[in-house]
């Protein structure tokens, strides 16, 4: 069982898993992406997976820069397409453990179609979506994750659209495992990521993180601590949410394990297709 006291100190983690010559990272002070990365590295260490067989894939955006810092095989691809590239890597060599590390805009706007289809196929990829509620890399525009009425550089009078519930979307599209945590629940997050790493089929962990530079500043939460407080106040654990009314849940984000099932993954289903093909040829 993962406990806070047992985890490797962050400095040691940095020495072991990051490309030292690439440091420091590009992330702003108070940004949650580095913390999210730390959770994934902790989970990876706990999982006991062979490092040479792990491949990181990403698209474009702040979070997508992460694979450039980790000392693993890594593919930094085009905007939104990480999971499409991951599909090719995983099916071409099922021995590999593929981690897709994405941001919210990358994963659910431009990459939304690839995300739901990866979940529908139950593609054997561990997906981390770091949700900071806006596009950070390009200057704080609203994303499909920005809550209604919150401001962004492309919605200075407050977002007039409704956001996606990323985890619910992926769960209903058919993923084997979906969990969502804020960056504050570190032990839960690391446990979920470890579970996701060892799972067959599509496994998503969505991490809610602060972006003080843009999302925070534009919405009256300039200091990181204010954003962390906002995350705490606006999230409800799934066990509590079940007892709450629709009215009480309005504007709240449900955290916890959303789905945990063991349907066959895409690799296994493809192997069965190959078997059927060979059988059909034999009897023909």
């Amino acid at each position: 069982m993962i406990s806070a006291s047992r985890l490797t100190p962050a400095l040691e983690l940095k020495r072991r898993y990051l490309r030292q010559e690439r440091l420091p990272m590009i992330f702003c002070p108070g940004c949650g992406i580095g913390v999210a990365l730390k959770y994934v590295l902790w989970a990876l260490e706990e999982s006991g997976l062979e490092e040479d067989k792990v491949v990181w894939v990403s698209g474009i955006g702040c979070s997508s820069r992460v694979p450039g810092y980790v000392n693993f095989d890594s593919l930094h691809t085009t905007h939104g397409r990480a999971l499409a590239f991951a599909t090719g890597i995983k099916l071409a060599n099922p021995e590999l453990k593929v981690i897709a590390f994405m941001g919210d805009g990358d994963a659910i706007a431009i990459g939304g179609n690839h995300l739901i289809h990866a979940a529908r196929r139950n593609l054997d990829v561990t997906t981390i979506i770091v949700n900071n509620f806006n596009y950070g890399m390009t200057g704080g525009q609203i994303a499909p994750s920005t809550p209604h009425l919150y401001k962004g550089s492309s919605a200075p009078y407050g977002n007039y659209e409704r956001p996606f519930d990323i985890s619910a979307l992926v769960a209903s599209a058919g993923a084997n495992y979906v969990a969502r945590w804020t960056i504050l629940e570190h032990v839960h997050a690391v446990r979920s990521i470890k579970k996701a790493l060892l799972k067959q089929g599509f496994a998503l962990v969505e991490l809610l993180v602060p972006c003080p530079t843009y999302f925070g500043r534009r919405n009256g939460m300039r200091r990181p601590i204010e954003l962390l407080r906002w995350l705490r106040e606006n999230t409800v654990h799934v066990s509590r949410a079940q007892k709450m009314s629709q009215e009480e849940l309005k504007g709240k984000i449900v955290i916890g394990e959303i789905v945990d099932r063991n349907e066959p993954g895409l690799v296994q289903m493809y192997m069965e297709y190959v078997k059927r093909a060979k059988l059909a040829m034999k009897s023909a």
């Binding site: 491949v55 450039g68 095989d73 499409a84 590239f85 090719g88 060599n93 021995e95 590999l96 179609n113």
Partner: protein, 383 residues
């Protein structure tokens, strides 16, 4: 010993262009295919769905063309030869990741069975409207390889060549055919695997890993690491240094990278660019054609020679890179050039650019899925 392929080898078979491409890909060692249905290229996806599982390869129908090429590139980095196939509207969508494949030096084969455009155009009608898109559609300075078959047998042989060139130069190769060749059935010799030369990419030696994108051998082509074998390579579509790390503000790094990517193709133009000259030695009028229009030109040529006209044909097998030095010499050795095309003049412009003012360049253009007839071409030559 080569494994048994799921189709007869060493025989003549009567198949269409799309099927020839699918079989040739498997013979070339392609073991990953991703595609999305589109007329008139769907048959490649369908034949692959039948054959690929029988050779323990992977076939997947993706959610769109963006994803199809993305998956093929991913498979290539996992060490498997890969291909996707589409038609013009889908090829437009693939341009994004075609640029990514160029920038990351990923061997991959992209088949474009052209149909009429722009937009949805005429789904079942052939066209040659994507020549310039295939060469220049990717944003930014770049180079790649574009091949164009005229017969079903050429479609077979050029598919194998496309894989070999992709592997040798670490570049995406576009097999630019059209709905006419794709759906045309004719006799094709399917060779035994032993008769076919298959090339595979070089992988780095351990000392070369400290800079996986460095021009170690002076040929502009770094050996390619494979994911999962301990290389720990970082691959990005951002401008990157020799280590593969993003370096996006240093103009020198960008210039050096882009020039290497272009030069590794263009300095080998003599090796890549192939063509056929038919009765061109004494010709005063030269037809310059490729693909389906080259076939028509051969028939036109027979008529013209019977009439005693000194006509010849330059048939281009490769549309990029073009050997401009050679073309200039050939083009300027005649009085008149006739370029038959199923577009408003794309190859025409490339030829006109190198023709001296004394050489007249005439376009024979047909749109709407119509192929220029031998009579059209003969008339243009005689005019």
């Amino acid at each position: 010993m080569p494994e048994k392929l799921p189709f007869p080898c060493g025989v003549y078979d009567f198949i269409h262009g799309d099927e020839a491409i699918a079989r040739a890909a498997i013979m070339a060692g392609c073991r990953f295919f991703a595609g999305y249905p589109i007329t008139p290229a769907s048959e490649i996806l369908e034949v692959m769905s039948l054959l690929m599982p029988l050779v323990d390869g992977v076939i997947i129908q993706m959610e769109d063309e963006l994803a199809s090429l993305a998956a093929a590139i991913g498979a290539s980095w996992a060490g498997v030869k890969s291909m996707t196939a589409t038609s013009s509207p889908g090829f437009t969508l693939m341009l994004e990741n075609l640029g990514y494949a160029i920038m990351t030096e990923t061997p991959v084969v992209v088949v474009n069975v052209q149909r009429s455009g722009p937009s949805t155009g005429q789904p079942t009608m052939p066209s040659q409207g994507d020549i310039l898109q295939a060469i220049w559609g990717v944003h930014g300075d770049h180079s790649l390889i574009v091949l164009s078959p005229s017969t079903v047998e050429e479609a077979f042989n050029m598919t194998i060549r496309a894989f070999n060139l992709a592997e040798r130069y670490r570049v995406p190769v576009v097999l630019l055919t059209d709905g006419e060749i794709g759906h045309l059935r004719e006799k094709v010799y399917i060779p035994f695997p032993e008769e076919v030369v298959i090339e595979s990419r070089k992988t780095p030696k351990s000392n070369e890993l400290k800079a996986p994108f460095k021009d170690w051998h002076g040929d502009g082509i770094p050996p390619m690491p494979v994911f999962g074998r301990g290389y720990r390579v970082h691959v990005t579509g951002l401008t990157h240094d020799e280590k593969g790390y993003p370096e996006t503000t240093n103009p020198l790094v960008h210039e050096r990278l882009v020039k290497r990517l272009v030069e590794k193709i263009e300095r080998n133009v003599r090796e890549i660019f192939t063509y056929k000259q038919i009765l061109a030695d004494d010709a005063k009028v030269l037809m310059v054609a490729h693909g389906i229009t080259a076939r028509v030109s051969i028939e036109a040529l027979e008529h013209l020679r019977k009439k005693g006209i000194r006509a010849g044909l330059l048939k281009l097998d490769v549309l990029w890179p073009l050997d401009f030095a050679l073309l200039e010499q050939v083009v300027n050795s005649v009085e008149r050039i006739v370029v038959p095309e199923m577009n408003l003049g794309q190859l025409y412009h490339l030829i006109k650019e190198i023709a001296s003012p004394s050489v007249e360049v005439v376009l024979v253009s047909r749109l709407g899925g119509e192929i220029p007839t031998p009579t059209d071409i003969v008339e243009a030559v005689l005019k």
